[in-house]
């Protein structure tokens, strides 16, 4: 799985990637093509690089250097086509030679800046030899043409042509012959340059790729500082988050002047049932856990104060936002087929993080409850890390149980409305011992301004 596929599946991941301040568009493409990492070693290597980048960014004197580097990165162009042509041993034209020269000069400047800042996690190859080839006059400006300095013959010929052009009585034919000769010499020089550049093809390719890596690292580092992300540790068994938060939701709340309440959560290798009243943030918990796991597996810092995360092969989500209705499936059918796929993957030996929101909510409560029990039991017996939310009571299966604390008792007398409800809810998770689910659907509906007549009827039925 590549990052570009993951952002389609994991809610909130696109937000994080889009917010990265990457300078060049091709570095972003390279980032989107980065793979899901399966080993602790790969993840640690990547996380350590981000850590070093952050340390560098945090040094007071770095900001000037970083600004200069970013400016250089912004100016670099995607020259993959040209690099491919070097590897194919093609003759390069002026435009391609210009691109290589511009890259080589930019790499050289970035190298100097990195050295000045003693920032050495990225190795940029030395391209001085390439610069010398393409800058025979030693001007070190990022422009290119087939310079007179390449050949005396060329310089003389150019003078001759110029003199003839100045003379209005000149022979058209003579001029044409000279121009033909000129083209031949230019072509020969370009061919020689192309052959010489061949020797440095690997260095050029590495330099091109590594400045993209540098671009990505700096962007990641900046995001870590901006959003207060933390480096997660790799856990063997149990995933634990302290004060995990969802940057996208936090961002949306802060625009309304509201605060996000981070929560703690622990995920063992067995099923965990999460219950809680409506609007208590159960779905957000699932999405945030999925996001953190995904960020971790792609080598990013995560939005929590502390985290130990166990590796998984796959993040399996069933959040109920699949668009299968278009395929003619009912919401129940589409959900149960999705659950089936997850079950099959687990049976095939995949270590998955399973996150299911309000399992079996679209069918009748008796069977729905049975389905929830069965899925929980399956996950527990297969030692699968699973978080499943549900509103059903009477769940007997062997699993961990967590409940969102919900309405804060001593505050409940205040005037509740849609806009201030989040001040009245404690979103933290507590261990739940009983199997009674919190109620409050009617109250929330009333708060949302649902028709009184209807709600009175609801209450009458509840009393029966």
């Amino acid at each position: 799985m590549l990052l570009k596929n993951a952002i389609e599946e994991i809610n909130g991941l696109r937000f994080m990637i889009d917010k990265l301040d990457i300078q060049s568009s091709w570095a972003k493409r390279i980032l989107l093509d980065s793979p899901y990492l399966h080993s602790a070693e790969e993840i640690n290597t990547e996380l350590n690089k981000v850590e070093q980048t952050c340390q560098f960014l945090n040094k007071a004197k770095s900001s000037d250097i970083i600004d200069k580097i970013c400016l250089k990165l912004m100016q670099t162009k995607d020259i993959r086509g040209t690099i491919k042509r070097i590897f194919e041993q093609q003759n390069l034209d002026d435009i391609e030679l210009f691109e290589i020269k511009t890259l080589a000069l930019a790499v050289s400047e970035i190298r100097d800046l990195l050295q000045e800042g003693k920032f050495n996690i990225i190795r940029l190859p030395d391209l001085e030899a390439v610069i010398n080839l393409l800058d025979p006059e030693g001007m070190r400006v990022p422009y290119f043409y087939v310079y007179d300095a390449y050949s005396k013959e060329l310089a003389i010929l150019r003078k001759k042509i110029k003199n003839i052009q100045m003379n209005p009585d000149a022979h058209e034919e003579k001029l044409e012959n000279l121009q033909y000769e000129h083209t031949l010499i230019e072509d020969r020089i370009r061919e020689e340059l192309s052959i010489q550049i061949q020797q440095y093809k690997q260095e050029i390719k590495d330099a091109f790729q590594n400045i993209a890596v540098l671009d990505i690292l700096i962007a990641k580092g900046k995001q870590v500082i901006e959003l207060g992300l933390q480096k997660p540790n790799v856990a063997q068994e149990i995933t634990t988050y302290k004060k995990i938060f969802n940057p996208q939701v936090q961002d949306a709340l802060s625009h309304e002047g509201k605060k996000y309440q981070p929560i703690d959560i622990r995920i063992e290798k067995k099923a965990c049932l999460i219950s809680g009243a409506n609007m208590a943030g159960k779905s957000v918990i699932l999405r945030t856990v999925a996001l953190a796991q995904a960020l971790f597996q792609f080598g990013f810092y995560i939005p929590a104060e502390e985290a130990e995360i166990a590796l998984v092969d796959k993040i399996s989500l069933c959040i109920g936002d699949e668009q299968n209705e278009l395929k003619g499936l009912s919401s129940y059918a589409s959900e149960i087929l999705r659950i089936n796929t997850i079950i099959q993957e687990i049976k095939a030996g995949k270590e998955a993080l399973v996150l299911i929101d309000e399992l079996a909510r679209t069918t009748n409560p008796e069977e729905g409850k049975a389905i929830v029990n069965a899925v929980l039991e399956f996950m527990t017996t297969h030692h699968c890390r699973a978080l499943i939310t549900s509103h059903y009571s009477g769940i007997k299966a062997n699993c961990n149980r967590l409940r969102v604390k919900g309405f804060i008792k001593d505050k409940v007398n205040g005037v509740l409305n849609v806009n201030n409800i989040n001040e009245y809810i404690d979103y933290s998770l507590i261990e739940d011992t009983g199997d009674n689910v919190p109620q409050g659907a009617t109250r929330i509906a009333r708060m949302l301004g649902v028709d009184e007549e209807l709600l009175d009827k609801v209450e009458q039925y509840m009393e029966q």
């Binding site: 568009s25 162009k77 034209d93 002026d94 435009i95 210009f98 691109e99 990022p142 422009y143 290119f144 043409y145 087939v146 150019r158 042509i161 110029k162 052009q165 121009q179």
Partner: protein, 354 residues
């Protein structure tokens, strides 16, 4: 009546070129094919090559074909002078007939590849192609500051008169000639129509400030200077919205195109002499000459939000079918009618050389 503003040719030349160089960007627009736009451009390029100023040259869309694609008449190619910058597509850059140093490759894609900015090391012929849209052109002109360019010259096209829009270039030069009409009075009338649109008076800054930023719709400005959106969905539905049109008075702002239909409608109003029409800039008038003048003659007023500067008109007395008008007569009649300098660059150069 004899022309009174016709000083000796040489003096004239310098004034023309000097004025061109005072602008940051200038568009050269031909009123029809074969009106001598490229001749005019080449003339300017030859004259300014020793001015010490840094010049950049580009085109709106594709231009500089070796043969006219419609009439198949030989077309003069654009000749870039030493040290001038030019912007063209990758394809045309590869076909260049001069030595040029590449300075930049834009990420902007055109149908002929990316745009290359280069400096001519030797003078020579080039096919120019540039951004096809006004917005990208504006951006490109701004980017030329990076290369210390003093004046950017844009080779415009008739169909893209919008490039002469004040929103894109600071000034413009019109090329007109026998290709448009072989009848001098007719040719002058047609050119004057363009000239008159370009020289529509500027609306007061007080009103202009209120209208800036409005991108579409028809608006009214009432006596207290308040603006009201008239919510007229389409100028094709004017008949149904007649009362609504003047509910806030007779001063209207049309942010988009002023169509023939709209101007006809206004012209036919009984109180046309009380109507003031404000338009964005001259490129927005899409009405016939007859309707335009009829509206003004009946007392209607027209103002622009952004005005353009028309520097000069260049005339080409030669038509593609071989007709040749009297250069001096054409020039004099045209100058008399327009009141701005009119040049026949080909003749000027021949005179100069002989």
């Amino acid at each position: 009546m004899k022309n009174r503003i016709s000083p000796p040719l040489l003096f004239f030349t310098n004034v023309f070129i000097e004025e061109v160089l005072t602008y940051k960007s200038i568009a050269i627009v031909g009123l029809a094919k074969n009106t001598g736009k490229t001749e005019c451009l080449n003339y300017i390029l030859r004259q300014i090559k020793n001015s010490g100023k840094r010049i950049a040259l580009t085109s709106i869309g594709i231009d500089g074909e070796k043969r006219d694609q419609v009439c198949q008449t030989p077309k003069p190619e654009i000749e870039v002078q030493e040290n001038m910058l030019f912007i063209t597509s990758e394809k045309h850059f590869r076909e260049k007939q001069l030595i040029a140093e590449i300075m930049d490759i834009s990420s902007h894609q055109t149908s002929l590849g990316r745009l290359i900015t280069a400096r001519a090391i030797s003078s020579g012929k080039i096919l120019l192609s540039g951004p096809a849209r006004a917005n990208s052109m504006k951006q490109l002109i701004e980017e030329m500051q990076r290369f210390d360019v003093d004046t950017t010259i844009v080779d415009g096209a008739l169909s893209r008169l919008s490039i002469g829009s004040p929103a894109v270039t600071d000034a413009m030069i019109l090329a007109t000639g026998a290709a448009l009409s072989c009848n001098i009075p007719q040719l002058v009338r047609m050119t004057k129509y363009v000239h008159d649109r370009i020289h529509l008076p500027l609306v007061s800054s007080e009103i202009a400030n209120k209208l800036t930023g409005i991108e579409n719709g028809i608006w009214a400005i009432d006596e207290r200077g308040e603006i009201h959106d008239l919510h007229i969905p389409s100028v094709f539905m004017l008949g149904n919205n007649k009362e609504r049109m003047f509910q806030h008075g007779n001063t209207l702002y049309v942010a988009g195109v002023v169509s023939e239909q709209l101007l006809q409608f206004l012209r036919q109003q009984k109180h046309v002499n009380e109507i003031t029409l404000i338009i964005k800039d001259f490129t927005k008038v899409f009405a016939t000459m007859e309707t335009f003048y009829a509206y003004l003659k009946r007392g209607g007023k027209m103002y622009v939000l952004y005005s353009s500067k028309l520097l000069a008109v260049c005339v080409n007395p030669l038509s593609p079918n071989g007709m040749c008008l009297d250069s001096e007569e054409l020039r004099e009649v045209m100058q008399e009618s327009l009141g701005i300098p009119v040049y026949d660059v080909k003749k000027m150069e021949n005179n100069y050389q002989s």
